[in-house]
């Protein structure tokens, strides 16, 4: 346990680096939504818009932690033929330089490859150059096998900390986490919200003593949200539904992939700029620490 806790935040230099100077903008898209080719273009647009890390969703048939927006993205991606193998190809085909985190559910990780357990999946993820994982249905209690495989192949394992996470549980998670911690801004499932939850500040307070980047997600929709959250002390912002909405609208209205990519890029820029503004506001404080 002492051992693990030491190596946790240092598994992969890339993710740590992404948070090193200034606030990290961490957008999410479902890989293959609504089809393989467009999706490649969309992810690349995020980088152009200023992404520091990209969370790539590998769609699972039962996304129990997602709201309607991302559920629909998952359905579109599955209907577009996305599978774990195609996902790894997708990562290989992507022309982006920022670190990529795979967001998926545990069953897909567990089933992959010939031997049961997460190792084959992590091995392949390392091969294609992924930097880490977020697994919403894998709490720290069940994470040992995946943590071990990540350690073996030098990948990070990001955990979500919810507004309800306190005390012992918080410690257990923080001893397992690496890369960054995903601070869930409010209770519920993913989905863009019109205001930012007051629960965020309390969560950041609880995490103040832990020396790992804190990226806040769930419900961030605009540059102003991003600004406020970073000003409040977040090391990064995670944005999913607000971006997936753009993909969904494009798919519904039959827009060209180029047009959608352009809108994604500019939304990304808005969010990144917001984050930067927020960071500026708190620089004195941050330095004081």
């Amino acid at each position: 346990m002492g051992d693990e806790s030491e190596n946790t935040t240092a598994a992969n230099p890339e993710l740590a680096a992404a948070f090193a100077d200034g606030p990290a903008f961490v957008p999410y898209l479902a890989a293959g939504d609504p089809d393989y080719e467009s999706s490649l273009q969309y992810v690349e647009a995020l980088e152009r818009g200023g992404a520091d890390v990209i969370e790539l969703g590998l769609p699972f048939s039962e996304p129990i932690a997602e709201g309607p927006t991302i559920q629909s993205a998952v359905v579109r991606a599955l209907e577009g033929g996305m599978t774990p193998d195609r996902f790894f190809e997708f990562v290989e085909d992507l022309a982006v330089d920022v670190p990529l985190v795979c967001m998926t559910y545990y069953n897909l990780i567990y089933q992959y490859g010939d031997e049961p357990g997460p190792r084959p999946f992590v091995e392949r993820a390392a091969e294609v150059g992924l930097s880490g994982f977020v697994v919403p249905d894998l709490p720290a209690e069940e994470a040992d096998p995946l943590r071990e495989a990540c350690d073996e192949f030098g990948l990070d394992l990001v955990f979500i900390v919810a507004p309800t996470t306190r005390g012992e549980r918080l410690e257990r998670i923080m001893s397992q986490v690496s890369g960054y911690v995903y601070v869930q801004a409010r209770l519920g499932v993913t989905g863009a919200q019109d205001d930012v939850s007051g629960q965020t500040e309390q969560s950041l307070d609880r995490l103040a003593d832990y020396d790992v980047p804190k990226a806040v997600g769930f419900g961030i929709k605009t540059g102003e949200h991003a600004e406020r959250i970073v000003a409040g002390g977040a090391d990064g912002i995670i944005v999913g539904s607000a971006l997936v909405d753009i993909v969904a609208d494009g798919a519904k209205d039959g827009e060209s992939a180029d047009a959608v990519a352009e809108r994604l890029e500019s939304k990304a820029r808005e969010l990144k700029q917001g984050a930067l503004r927020g960071y500026d506001q708190r620089v004195p404080q941050a330095e004081g620490k």
């Binding site: 699972f60 048939s61 039962e62 996304p63 129990i64 932690a65 997602e66 709201g67 309607p68 559920q71 629909s72 359905v75 599955l78 599978t83 774990p84 193998d85 559910y105 545990y106 069953n107 897909l108 990780i109 567990y110 089933q111 992959y112 049961p116 919403p136 249905d137 894998l138 709490p139 209690e141 069940e142 955990f159 979500i160 900390v161 919810a162 507004p163 309800t164 996470t165 306190r166 549980r169 998670i173 869930q184 209770l187 519920g188 499932v189």
Partner: protein, 415 residues
């Protein structure tokens, strides 16, 4: 009684694979389970038992089935859960959980339902205990099971349509988990079977274990001994674990979990469809809805659409404890297809004057085909009554040539 595993594991099965936001609620529930259910704090279990008796109608009888016994030339006994309030074993669990939520100070109940049996049981329990209640139900299921939707509404529950996916049970469970994750502080999620994250599988089993507690005593009173075998259908496996729990330690008693063989045990990987719900017989280990268990999935790990003529068995997973008991060789995982279940439905209706749920009919289908291997005294759990299935029976009987069925021409096309 089977053991309670402190870590929520049954061998490699079980566990708590849920979003972090739910973990505190699950810890709180685990603690409440320990105190109220296992240690009877504040007399919880006494209260529960009294309500099961007076509101639910327990004990249900264990009946000697004269004509089946004659037919199979052995003693056949029926555990009559069809007589429980609401018409199925579901109330044992729903009442236990809603009452527990009340003891925990929760102010709101959510539940999922497929065919509507768990939903109606939960709505009844919630009305009885004056708890606001919302039920998630797939839109497809809502359209197929309108009388059950109506019953939930009559009991004062809200019924929320789930439009994602195929709009059936699997999606409804996912959606209820989302609601719980959002409202976890004042809300309890009343899960409908021995599935989901720990402590649900153990807790639901304990609430349902009253079935075998009574049946074991009742068979003893009637025969002076124990049954040679116990048969129960298995969807999620709650009536199954309820019927088995108090026999697990009786090594001489054969336990048969009868799954839905559907139209075939083969699987269409391409279409992501398993035309059966036989997770124990044909599923693979995996993680679904919060637990590691046997599930119907493709080689990638995507969950497959299951199928059964009985909506209540139509689920791609199964309780983790059952998975373990099957691996251990303690429980026999067997299955009966749609045809066999329908025939058994008609047979029991005509021979014994009991119209069983199509789910329960699967257990009788197995009896018909394998009675010779089941010993001298066979106990079959009648998990529910079939009134909910009448439309389906008309439709499905019309498609087949079933000797045991009465001529139903006048009902062609439904009521």
């Amino acid at each position: 009684m089977t053991q309670t595993y402190a870590d929520g594991k049954f061998g490699e099965y079980g566990g708590q694979y849920v979003p972090e936001a739910l973990m505190p609620a699950i810890e709180e529930l685990t603690d409440a389970y320990q105190r109220y259910v296992l240690e009877n704090e504040d007399g919880f279990m006494d209260d529960f038992r009294a309500r099961l008796r007076d509101f639910g109608g327990r004990p249900t009888p264990t009946q000697y089935a004269e004509r089946l016994s004659e037919r199979y030339d052995r003693e056949v006994y029926l555990k009559r859960e069809d007589l429980l309030h609401g018409g199925a074993h579901k109330l044992n669990n729903a009442l236990g959980q809603v009452l527990l939520a009340k003891y925990m100070g929760k102010e709101r109940i959510v539940a999922e339902t497929g065919a509507g049996q768990h939903g109606t049981a939960t709505a009844m329990a919630a009305a009885h205990l004056d708890m606001p209640c919302e039920i998630y139900m797939g839109e497809t299921d809502i359209n197929r099971q309108r009388p059950n939707v109506f019953r939930m509404r009559l009991n004062g529950s809200e019924v929320n349509p789930v439009t994602t996916g195929r709009g059936t049970l699997k999606e409804a469970i996912s959606e209820t988990m989302r609601d719980w994750a959002t409202n976890v502080e004042d809300t309890h999620y009343v899960i409908g079977s021995v599935v989901g994250p720990h402590p649900f599988p153990a807790m639901v089993r304990d609430f349902q274990a009253v079935i075998s507690e009574e049946a074991r005593r009742q068979v003893r009173e009637k025969t002076g001994g124990l049954p040679d075998s116990v048969l129960a259908c298995a969807g999620g496996g709650s009536n199954t674990m309820g019927a088995f729990a108090n026999f697990v330690d009786d090594e001489g008693v054969g336990l048969y979990a009868v799954e839905a063989g559907g139209s075939s045990l083969d699987v269409d990987e391409e279409a992501g469809v398993a035309p059966n719900s036989a997770s124990l017989s044909t599923g693979e280990e995996g993680v679904l809805h919060g637990a590691r268990t046997k599930i119907l999935q493709d080689t990638d790990g995507q969950i497959m659409e299951s199928h059964s003529v009985s909506a209540g068995l139509d689920y791609a997973g199964v309780g983790p404890e059952l998975a373990r008991l099957v691996d251990d060789g303690r429980v026999n995982a067997v299955n009966v297809d749609d045809d066999g279940a329908l025939e058994a439905f008609h047979r029991l209706s005509q021979l014994e004057g009991i119209i069983p749920a199509l789910e329960s009919a699967h257990a009788f289908g197995y009896l018909e085909e394998n009675y010779d291997d089941l010993g001298d005294v066979v106990l079959v759990n009648v998990s529910g009554r079939g009134d909910k299935d009448l439309e389906t029976v008309i439709e499905e009987t019309e498609k087949r040539d079933i000797d045991a069925a009465p001529s139903l021409a006048e009902f062609s096309g439904g009521f």
